[in-house]
Structure formats: structure tokens, C-alpha cells
């Protein structure tokens, strides 16, 4: 490139800054910028606007043309959704929002309060159960989370419930014993209903930096995460680490949280996400 080339070094610096500032992460950003440099050269692109559009289209394609399914039906028994993630990411709120959405679609829903540790966790989920007008299984504080999960699936089978949503306690992926506890919850659920949980949602706070990749990697090693719900996108954080997670681990974003109310849950839309990233 020469100094008077509009698609200049300054433009690639600006691209690097917007990607890093969106929490896309250093390694992924470097890859993207290098790819774009090569393409600009190969395709003799001279207009920065054109290059940005190319990148955006490419990112949307990467996520896939069709939005991932959140139908959550199971033909032979309740569909079981397990919710996990680090502390404060929005698990309980997301569980409540999903319950509300499914109940409004006419499904029967049962919530499982498997966070038996944190202060007022059961009460908090209980209020969401009321808002969604759905049932909830809860044991007393300090009870075994596996037992709650088991009882919830068991009750759902007995009652012919369409959807089970199990909320778990926040835990750092670095805490081995807590990750083991989570694996046990999954095993127990599978034991009661082979094949369950049918969906394992990792709840990821959009303000999280590159540690999000570590979280996704460790939680998926433990549980085979099938999807991500990216929360707090109503703030100014872009949630760019979801791109690194998809590129490196292949885990799709299925839902986004855009507020604290019952309706503040949306299916993931790649085009909207990518446009917002560069806004």
C-alpha cells in the first residue's frame, strides 16, 4: 500500500481498534485484520466502506444463515434445558425470561431451583416462576443440587410437562469441585431421562473480556455446552468475545439478554449483532 492509498494502514489500525474495543480479543482480531489486508490487496479494494461491508458480510456468514433453533421440543418426554455460567452473569434472570416466553407460547414449564447455595437464590427464581405463572421445584438451602435437578425432571415426567429449565449456582470455571458438582447435575439428569439435558446454555455477560473464552472452553469441557445466551447487551459492551468463542469452539449464540424485564430476551440475529459491533 502507498501513503495515498485510501485503504491504508490507518484504516487497518482503525479496524484493529474497533475489534479490540468490542472485546473480539487480540488473537482473533489479528487474524481478521490480516485476512482483510490480504483480501484488500488480492481484490484491489480501495474503498474502506466496501472493506467494512465485506468484513461484516463475512462475519454474518460465519455465524450461519439460519438462526440456531430455540424450539426446545422433545418427542418422548420433557425437553430439559440446563443453565450454567459464572457468578452474576444473568442465569436466574434468563431462566425466568425463558420460562415466561415458553409459557406464553402455551407450553407447560417447570423450573428447577438447583442453586441451593447463594442467599435468596430460591426466592429470586420463585418470583420469576410467579411472573411466568409456572411451577418450580425447590429444596431447602444447602440441599444437593443434583437432587433438585433429579426431582424436577422426575416431576416433569410424571406431570407430562413440556419444558424443564434448571437454574444452577454461579461458579468460576477455575473451581474444580464446583465444576464437578455441575457435571454431577448433568449426569443425574441424564440418568433420570436418557439424553437429557437436551440443551446446555452457557450464560455469558456481554461486559466480559477475553476471560469469556476461558469460561466457554472450561464449561464446554465439563458439560458439552450447546449454546450461549449473551446477556446485558442493553449496555454499551458489544460482546465481541462471542465471535472468538464461535471461531474457536463452534458454540453458537442462541439468545441475547437486553434488559431486566420478562420480555427482554431475543433470539440471536447475526446481522443485528455484527452491525451493532461496528456501530
Amino acid at each position: 500500500f502507498t501513503g495515498n492509498d485510501p485503504v491504508s494502514d490507518a484504516m487497518f489500525d482503525a479496524l484493529e481498534e474497533s475489534l479490540i474495543s468490542a472485546d473480539v480479543g487480540v488473537a482473533t482480531t489479528m487474524t481478521i485484520v490480516e485476512d482483510m489486508r490480504a483480501r484488500a490487496k488480492a481484490e484491489k479494494i480501495v474503498d474502506p466502506q466496501q472493506l467494512y461491508q465485506l468484513l461484516k458480510d463475512e462475519m454474518v456468514l460465519m455465524f450461519g444463515e439460519t438462526a440456531p433453533s430455540v424450539e426446545w421440543r422433545n418427542e418422548d418426554g420433557p425437553h430439559v434445558l440446563l443453565i450454567a455460567g459464572v457468578n452474576g452473569s444473568g442465569k436466574t434472570t434468563t431462566a425466568g425470561k425463558i420460562a415466561f416466553k415458553l409459557a406464553n407460547q402455551g407450553r407447560s414449564v417447570l423450573l428447577g431451583a438447583a442453586d441451593t447455595f447463594r442467599a435468596a437464590a430460591g426466592e429470586q427464581l420463585g418470583i420469576w416462576a410467579e411472573r411466568a405463572n409456572v411451577g418450580m421445584i425447590r429444596h431447602k438451602e444447602g440441599a444437593d443440587p443434583g437432587a433438585v435437578a433429579y426431582d424436577t425432571v422426575d416431576a416433569a415426567i410424571a406431570r407430562n410437562t413440556d419444558n424443564v429449565i434448571i437454574d444452577t449456582a454461579g461458579r468460576l470455571h477455575t473451581k474444580v469441585n464446583l465444576m464437578e458438582e455441575l457435571k454431577k447435575v448433568q449426569r443425574v439428569v441424564d440418568k433420570r431421562l436418557p439424553g437429557a439435558p437436551h440443551e446446555v446454555l452457557l450464560i455469558l455477560d456481554a461486559t466480559t473480556g477475553q476471560n469469556g473464552l476461558q469460561q466457554a472452553s472450561q464449561f464446554t469441557d465439563a458439560l458439552a455446552v450447546t449454546g450461549i445466551a449473551l446477556t446485558k447487551l442493553d449496555g454499551t459492551a458489544k460482546g465481541g468475545m462471542a465471535i472468538a468463542i464461535y471461531k474457536q469452539l463452534g458454540i453458537p449464540i442462541k439468545l441475547i439478554g437486553v434488559g431486566e424485564g420478562v420480555d427482554d430476551l431475543q433470539p440471536f440475529d447475526a446481522r443485528q449483532f455484527v452491525d451493532a459491533l461496528f456501530a
Binding site: S89, A119, Q214
Partner: protein, 292 residues
């Protein structure tokens, strides 16, 4: 780690004579990458690198025998200087009660930190009143009630149909009644871009005149730390930061961003979910963690 990276940059130089401007550029690039990987904000890194470059020129690193080690020391020392070389204690009011207000985005650890502060203050003989000013989050007040019990602290709220400002105002009288010399106001998580909620926070601060307004943020926060911190700082006279979930494996570069943007020290770090998991902030240790 940064030390290893710089080592490999300078290994290729050793025996080739003097360190050059070009090698210096490589070293600065490695430092920049290390800080960005640690989630330090992009603009903050830019300024930091310029400062390191200046310090390196001043320290005549180009004439040094061990340029790699010298640069690591310059970077480490610059980080420690930014973060405030020693621990900053909590302000106490001359005339009780001391009022501490906790603010921050959703889910960062405010309510838990309120309990931790009560436990911490109890060790030096202070009696704390925890105030439930979060009327929005389901069971928030119940959560603080339980936290207060676990911390063996007093707790006050007007319930979740009350006005948060009024709750905080009434807490002042309540503290005297119950012989508490410290009040911790646990406020609702709020977005810096939510005007109504930021106005509420300002009203609480205006009416209560807290001796400490602590911004509570998660150590895994990424680039957005500067945005939220900046707007909270513009809205409220912040006096300090509490960095939570430091028991994880996040590099914690947000600490630099928060300190730079608010001009406030990190007063405490949260290192676990239990109420005894609060430690004073150690700039030296944080610098090592950030550099990986």
C-alpha cells in the same frame, strides 16, 4: 508471560551489539499485546506504551546489558505507580456514622461485598448497618437480610415498594438507634446509560453525602470498563473501586482502566463468595497478574 516474550525478543539481539530503535519497537509491541490480552483498554494501552517508551529512553535502556529485564522492570513499576503504590484505606467520618455507598453495573458483586465490608469492619470493632436500597431485583432485600445475618450485622430497609432515596435517608436515624457507626448502602445494579437510574444514584449521593462511594466491578470486565467507569465517575463523586471475582483466572486489566478513568484507588478485592473473602488491594501483585 511478558518476561518470557521480551526475553525472546532480546535473545535474538544479544551478541549482535547494541539494542536498536527497531528492537525497542518490537519490545513495545510485545508489551502492548500482553496488556491488550490482559483486557487493559485500547486507549489506556496506547498512553501506557508512550509512557514506557519515554521512561526507557530516559533510562538509557539502549545502553543496558540486560535490556529485556530492564524493560520488564520499567513496565512493572509503571503499572504499580498507576495503581497507587500502597493500599488506600477506607475513609472514616470524624462524626459517626461513616456512610459507604456501593454502586455499579448489574451482577458485579455489590450485595455480597456489602456483607464482606461488614465482616471486615467488625474485626476493627465497627458495627455496621446494611441498607437495602435495591427495590427492583427480585428478592434483593431478602438476599441482603440473609447476608446481614451471615455477617452478624444490622440490616434496614423500607421494603421493595419504598423509594430508595427515602430508605437511605431513614437509615441514618436507624443507625444511631441501633448503635451502628457505619452504614453501607447496597444499591441496585444499574447501567451507566440508564438516565433514570443514574439520576436515582445521584439523588442518593446528594442526600446522603457518603464518605465513600465505591464502584464495584468484576475483574473479568473487558474493554467496556472505561465506558461504565467514566459515566459513573461523571455522575457521582466516586472515591474508590472494589474489584470482585479476583479468585478467578481473569488477568484483570480492567483494574488499570478503572483506576485511570476514575482517578480512584482500588480499595478492596473480592476473592470468593463467602463473606470473609475480602482483601486489601496489592498493586504489586496486581501488576504481576496483569503481565501474566
Amino acid at each position: 508471560s511478558l518476561a518470557k516474550r521480551l526475553d525472546s525478543v532480546f535473545k535474538s539481539i544479544r551478541g549482535q551489539g547494541r539494542l536498536t530503535e527497531a528492537n525497542m519497537r518490537d519490545a513495545l509491541q510485545q508489551i502492548r499485546t500482553a496488556l491488550l490480552e490482559a483486557d487493559v483498554n485500547y486507549q489506556v494501552v496506547k498512553k501506557f506504551i508512550a509512557d514506557v517508551q519515554e521512561a526507557a529512553v530516559g533510562a538509557k535502556v539502549l545502553d543496558s546489558v540486560h535490556p529485556g529485564q530492564q524493560i520488564v522492570k520499567i513496565v512493572h513499576d509503571e503499572l504499580v505507580t498507576i495503581m497507587g503504590e500502597k493500599n488506600a484505606p477506607l475513609t472514616r467520618s470524624q462524626k459517626p456514622p461513616t456512610v459507604i455507598m456501593l454502586v455499579g453495573l448489574q451482577g458485579q458483586g455489590k450485595t455480597t461485598s456489602a456483607g464482606k465490608l461488614a465482616v471486615h469492619l467488625k474485626k476493627s470493632g465497627h458495627k455496621t448497618l446494611l441498607v437495602g436500597a435495591d427495590v427492583y431485583r427480585p428478592a434483593a432485600i431478602k438476599q441482603l437480610e440473609i447476608v446481614a445475618q451471615q455477617a452478624d450485622a444490622e440490616m434496614f430497609s423500607l421494603g421493595e415498594h419504598a423509594d430508595p432515596v427515602e430508605t437511605c435517608l431513614m437509615a441514618m436515624g436507624e443507625a444511631s438507634l441501633r448503635g451502628c457507626d457505619t452504614i453501607v448502602l447496597d444499591t441496585a445494579g444499574r447501567l451507566h446509560v440508564d438516565d433514570d437510574m443514574m439520576l436515582e444514584a445521584r439523588q442518593i449521593a446528594d442526600q446522603l453525602n457518603p464518605h465513600e462511594i465505591l464502584f464495584v466491578a468484576n475483574a473479568m470486565t473487558g474493554q467496556d470498563a472505561v465506558n461504565s467507569a467514566r459515566q459513573f465517575h461523571e455522575a457521582l463523586p466516586l472515591t474508590g473501586v472494589v474489584l470482585t471475582q479476583m479468585d478467578g483466572d481473569a488477568r484483570g486489566g480492567a483494574a488499570i482502566s478503572l483506576i485511570e478513568v476514575t482517578g480512584c484507588p482500588v480499595k478492596f478485592v473480592g476473592v470468593g463468595e463467602k463473606l470473609d473473602a475480602l482483601e486489601p488491594f496489592h498493586p504489586e501483585r496486581m501488576a504481576n497478574q496483569i503481565l501474566g
